[in-house]
């Protein structure tokens, strides 16, 4: 169980995280999605007590993270796989963590075996590939046998086999009642694992909920014309809701294709493309929600 309530972080005038609230229930995997710099890592660091929030609160298992005497035994955290002393071996890195957690040293070899790092255990982390460091980070996260996992971009740098193994691991973990929050800037990395999504852009949550709930009420049309300005005018005059404009000039409209086609015909706009709502999948939703935000931000700068 992870609960985030009205969490905000300001750096000077920049709102890195702005009034973010969500809850991760036991037995679920929550995909925390957003483009780079959207505020995912800052939010996760605030949950783990590493960054002081400017406002708002968060709790893990019903209490603030910092008040748990031995947090690693309840919450497995992987925030940045590259944040390791390169001079230590993988095994030494985990042995230090095992001492702090108070778990037997045999557990170290066990998790190294489980993430497929047993052969590289006595090599220095400085010589590890990024994928190996991710595996080491995941090994440390599960070392204390926690009930909650907080993983920041855990699948980046992993090969397809590694991504598959992690999907299996996290699904299995949630099936046994664990709570998982994992972030990614790529939808496909979490689409096969996540039950729920929290989408964030520009520090604000733009959508959250289970997949079908997110897509409900999103029926509409994608339309493109040779003259985008004329099309836009036709839509505006007819009073149809324009949800988003893509880089290729196509417009996402909150109406069915027939209405859009009629509006275009009435104003003499020639269409290049017109398709229905069923094409408006999670990917498009994600891009339309997060893409437009970042575009607006870029314009503001």
């Amino acid at each position: 169980m992870i609960r985030v309530e009205h969490l905000s972080k300001r750096y000077g005038d920049h709102r890195a995280v702005d009034d973010v609230s969500f809850t991760c229930e036991p037995g679920t995997v929550t995909g925390f999605l957003g483009p780079n710099g959207a505020g995912k890592s800052t939010t996760m660091r605030m949950i783990c007590g590493l960054t002081q929030p400017s406002a708002g609160t968060s709790s893990v298992l019903g209490v603030p993270y910092g008040t748990i005497p031995n947090p690693g035994r309840h919450v497995g955290v992987l925030l940045d796989a590259s944040a390791r002393h390169p001079g230590r071996t993988g095994r030494e890195t985990l042995t230090l963590a095992a001492m702090l957690l108070g778990v037997p040293r045999t557990r170290v070899d066990q998790v190294l075996e489980e993430v497929g790092l047993a052969a590289a255990a006595r090599r220095r982390v400085g010589g590890y590939s990024f994928g190996m460091r991710q595996r080491l980070g995941i090994a440390q996260a599960v070392l204390g046998d926690p009930g909650v996992l907080i993983l920041d971009e855990p699948s980046s740098g992993l090969d397809p086999e590694g991504i598959h193994q992690m999907r299996v691991l996290l699904r299995d973990f949630a099936r046994r009642g664990g709570t998982v929050l994992l972030s990614s800037h790529l939808l496909f990395e979490v689409e096969a694992i996540a039950d729920r999504y929290v989408m964030i852009a520009g520090g604000r949550i733009v959508a959250q909920g289970p997949k079908d709930e997110l897509l409900r009420g999103r029926s509409g049309a994608v339309v493109r014309a040779g003259d985008p300005a004329a099309l836009r005018e036709a839509l505006d005059r007819t009073g149809l809701e324009v949800r988003d404009t893509h880089a290729d000039g196509s417009i996402v409209v909150g109406a069915d294709p027939e209405q859009v086609g009629l509006a275009a015909a009435r104003h003499g706009v020639a269409l290049v493309e017109l398709r229905g709502a069923e094409d408006l999948g999670l990917e498009e939703l994600f891009l339309s929600l997060t893409g437009s935000q970042t575009a607006e931000e870029a314009k503001a700068r």
Binding site: M1, P26, R45, C48, G49, L50, T51, Q52, V60, L61, G62, V63, Y65, G66, I68, P69, N70, P71, G72, R73, H74, V77, L79, D80, S82, A83, R84, H85, P86, G87, R88, E92, L96, A97, M99, L100, L101, G102, Q110, V111, E114, V115, G116, R135, I138, Q140, V142, D145, G147, G162, Q165, M166, V168, L169, D172, F173, R176, G177, G178, T179
Partner: protein
């Protein structure tokens, strides 16, 4: 990466229950971890090796090349700790700055949210290294004395004055504390080391060239104020006052300020 074999208490906890929760690591365990972190990397082992090699080299140098009157056991004891005195603060500095420069703090402080406990563990680990270093230097000193007797270079008996051991230990403990303080305040390993050693140098030059500051420097410059702790022949009341004054600034005030900064700053 198949974690099917992972053992798990069943059912999985959904709320934190303080009564059954695993205890926080003890302060002694934290100290053992920090001690291990100071000695489990190549750079850490090099620093320790240089300290030991410097002990042997300095004792041999004095036994075979020291002037008459400089080869007594207390002199050997003091000289053998030259490397220890120089490098002990470096161990303290790097122990702190590595958490930021190597970013291992992300893991350390996620596992131990009460960050001051980690800092105190680093200090305790530094003190343990200081005690071990001084004990080892006594052994090396006696080795040197035996060598001196065998080569007919010996002067005086075997005794190392207890007060000399005590003041050397005090000097080392204060040096560890101020090294850690510099590391906490400056974060960068290079900047911390340069400032730590540059400051006494600059203050020393200032005191030597600007006559008006000479008296002040005897109190302010750690390079001057702390030196009686590493000399034979007793410490006067004024000298103790200078030691106290210097410790209050570099060992206590800066340490508290660094602790405050470490506890509140963002770990990224």
């Amino acid at each position: 990466m198949s974690l099917h074999t992972t053992t798990r208490r069943d059912p999985v906890e959904t709320v934190f229950v303080p009564e059954t929760a695993p205890a926080a690591p003890t302060q002694w365990m934290l100290t053992k971890v920090e001690l291990r972190k100071m000695t489990d990397t190549r750079s850490g082992r090099w620093v320790l090796a240089v300290i030991v090699l410097a002990m042997i080299a300095m004792v041999c140098l004095i036994v075979f090349a020291g002037a008459d009157g400089d080869r007594e056991v207390p002199e050997l004891f003091l000289a053998s700790q030259l490397g220890l005195s120089v490098l002990l603060p470096v161990i303290g500095i790097l122990s702190v700055t590595a958490e930021w420069s190597q970013r291992s703090g992300l893991s350390t402080f996620a596992l131990v949210p009460k960050r001051h406990r980690v800092v105190f563990a680093k200090f305790a680990a530094g003190v343990i290294i200081a005690v071990a270093g001084i004990a080892l230097s006594a052994v090396v000193t006696y080795g040197g004395q035996a060598l001196a007797i065998a080569t007919d270079n010996a002067e005086g008996g075997w005794g190392i004055p207890a007060d000399l051991v005590a003041t050397r230990l005090l000097d080392c403990v204060i040096a560890v504390a101020s090294g850690i303080a510099f590391g906490m305040l400056l974060s960068s390993p290079m900047l911390s080391v340069l400032t730590f050693y540059g400051l006494p140098l600059v203050l020393g030059i200032l005191g030597g060239t600007v006559a008006a500051t000479a008296d002040t420097m005897e109190w302010v410059n750690p390079g001057q104020a702390m030196s009686p702790l590493s000399e034979r022949g007793g410490i006067s009341g004024t000298e103790w006052a200078r030691v106290l004054c210097n410790t209050a600034v570099f060992g206590v005030a800066l340490f508290v300020a660094g602790l405050y900064r470490t506890s509140r700053r963002e770990v990224t």
